[in-house]
Symmetry: C2
Subunit: 385 residues, 2 copies
């Protein structure tokens, strides 16, 4: 097992009717900035619940944070928060709203000239942040219990990530009932997103960390088990509660303790989203099988273990079990109606060249062995046409 | 799934040579009280590592915290800490030292007249505590990442527990190499202690929380897998690291989120320790199979699931699988040379009567269904003679 440090101070409040508790989680003296997205929370009743719960607090609102939140929008929120002298940022929404608010929190106290540097430095320049809390409405990214944030810049088609322990939410409220109004494709995206988050921390090579392996498998086995009930037309409370807790546990740092991580699929997927507007989870479902096939020899042991323990594949040697692990994973994606090919989104050779060009310019090497260059990215994407 | 709140802000630092980092985890201005047990840390080098790491800090020492730490000893430490105006308590040892320091931390800022009330109120009177950190030398109780503490009062043979989020350690350092000098019976006790901690939160009845079930199974399956390597004469670093992380994860609140918990085995076991000096884990190994047999119909579903998923028991109906789960658990205890009968410690009918008398006086009902009275405790113990 590799050495590690784990410190996750987020207070999780999970259950029915828990949005009503936000008033207790914010000090009476704190002035709140309530940030949200495109207004779906006004249709499903969440907006009213938040307003009621904060009736005794001073609140200012900031609406209009878009999916794949934009730097420009975030900077407008920073300006408004400064003008209003707020004390706490309350993000109400899915991963995009939460990620945006983390960036806003960091930008609020950033002392440098250009807050874009928070992103280009991957968060290394962040020394403090404004306190934030979250109310999650779309289980997927795990942003409610981690230090990560992804922000887009429209002017340059860039999508950059940063992380800092200073942007851990002080609390996150998870009411499974708020997911009842989500469209099926967003539930599907959440299942796949969480699945791939686990795999980025699992499907590498063993450093003899059997507990973390099993904790990771616990999440993916549960996602597979509950997927039909999560997607059923009639909302199933327990399935939705497990879905929320799985997506949180998939990326709160725990299963990543002391293991080797990959994140190639995310790095390539981010570019598909930035260039072609493919949803985050959709991009991951395309790329993951390609990365696994390309890095087969490095990942064979873990992929075979996944196949044995998750789908009870027992026949064949390690290589054929690992192959079955890739096939079963893609079959799981298909079982929730998730496409897994670039062609499903009309992305062709020319599209691949745009992505490859970007990686060529960045000169970054991807993967746990740092052996995937721009050309290899091209090969991976070619295999996913 | 039941509603839950989860908030665990302990910073875990796990790895080789991590004791050297304690100097960075304590602010330069903080005056440290370094508390430990019977002096084994002087023999195995840990004492020297701590002194070296805190060379630049002002430090006072308090030695002599005994196994099953006594109230009187704790109150002596409180007096010394107050006299010396310390800012942070550093517990270096196993569960007993850590539990004692949690109580000392709570007693340091307790405003009532009699700190014993911290224990008789189970912590409900605790509104604050002095900061504390820990360096774990004996993986077993999980005290390094939870809010719990158990203290004994010699004058009345009492062993009482309290819990409060105010006594979460600020940090806990886990260096697997410090376990290399532990005697075999302490390693065995740690394996069994962690196993039973998981079972108290698992072997009840299902509330449809499949992720928590699998996270719990992840810990026990790993404990069973690594047990031979943990007990091997030649220390195995990775097995010891997994052992430490399993014992922490077994009782840091995570697997208990949103599920029904039992703790009957602990309540009865504590009395065996208080009256007869049986080690904590030894008492649990005696009592657990008896509680499971006594509550068989209430626990059958989970015990069968345990048998299927942990020992791959597939034949027979649910009842016979559940029975196999009990047998396999007792066999696991025996495989690490852990006795499971009262007679192994010379405890007889007269001893059982002492325990039953205490539960009769307390009039407490035990178990997830609150259906175990003093008489039932007697029946459980009779079955374990």
């Amino acid at each position: 097992m590799n050495d590690f440090e784990y410190h996750n101070p987020v207070r999780i409040v999970l259950g029915k009717g828990t949005i009503a508790r936000v008033g207790d989680l914010v000090a009476p003296s704190e002035k709140v900035m309530f940030l949200y997205g495109g207004g779906s929370i006004k249709k499903n009743g969440v907006y009213g619940q938040v307003v009621d719960a904060l009736a005794k607090h001073e609140v200012v609102e900031f609406a209009g944070i878009e999916p794949n939140p934009r730097y420009r929008t975030c900077m407008k929120a920073v300006e408004m928060a400064k003008q209003n002298g707020v004390d706490l940022l309350l993000a109400v929404g899915g991963g995009s709203v939460l990620d945006a608010v983390k960036f806003i929190a960091a930008a609020m106290t950033y002392e440098g000239k250009d807050p874009w540097k928070i992103l280009t430095s991957h968060g290394s320049v962040v020394n403090s942040a404004m306190p934030l809390g979250t109310i999650l409405t779309l289980p997927a990214t795990g942003s409610e219990m981690n230090i990560n944030s992804v922000i887009s810049r429209e002017s340059t088609d860039e999508k950059l990530a940063f992380g800092s322990p200073h942007v851990y939410p002080r609390f996150s409220i998870l009411d499974p009932e708020v997911t009842y109004t989500l469209p099926r494709n967003q539930l599907r995206n959440g299942l796949v997103d969480a699945f791939v988050h686990v795999m980025e921390q699992y499907a590498t090579h063993s450093v003899k960390s059997p507990l973390q392996d099993r904790q990771a498998e616990a999440v993916v086995k549960t996602l597979i088990e509950i997927a039909p009930a999560v997607l059923a037309e009639e909302p199933d409370y327990d399935a939705r509660a497990s879905f929320m807790w799985c997506t949180t546990q998939a990326l709160n740092g725990l299963i990543g303790c002391g293991v080797v991580q990959d994140w190639t699929t995310h790095m390539i997927g981010h570019e598909l989203t930035a260039f072609f507007g493919v949803a985050h989870a959709e991009s991951l479902a395309i790329v993951l099988p390609g990365v696994w096939e390309h890095q087969f020899h490095n990942k064979q042991g873990k992929l075979a273990q996944l196949a044995r323990r998750t789908w009870h594949v027992t026949s064949g040697d390690e290589a054929s079990q690992a192959k079955a692990g890739i096939e079963k994973t893609e079959a799981f994606f298909h079982s929730v109606d998730m496409p897994t090919r670039l062609g499903d989104y009309g992305i062709d050779e020319a599209g691949i060249r745009k992505v490859v060009d970007r990686f060529t310019k960045r000169q970054a090497l991807l993967g746990e062995h740092q052996n995937i260059n721009a050309q290899e990215v091209g090969a991976i994407l070619e295999s996913r046409l």
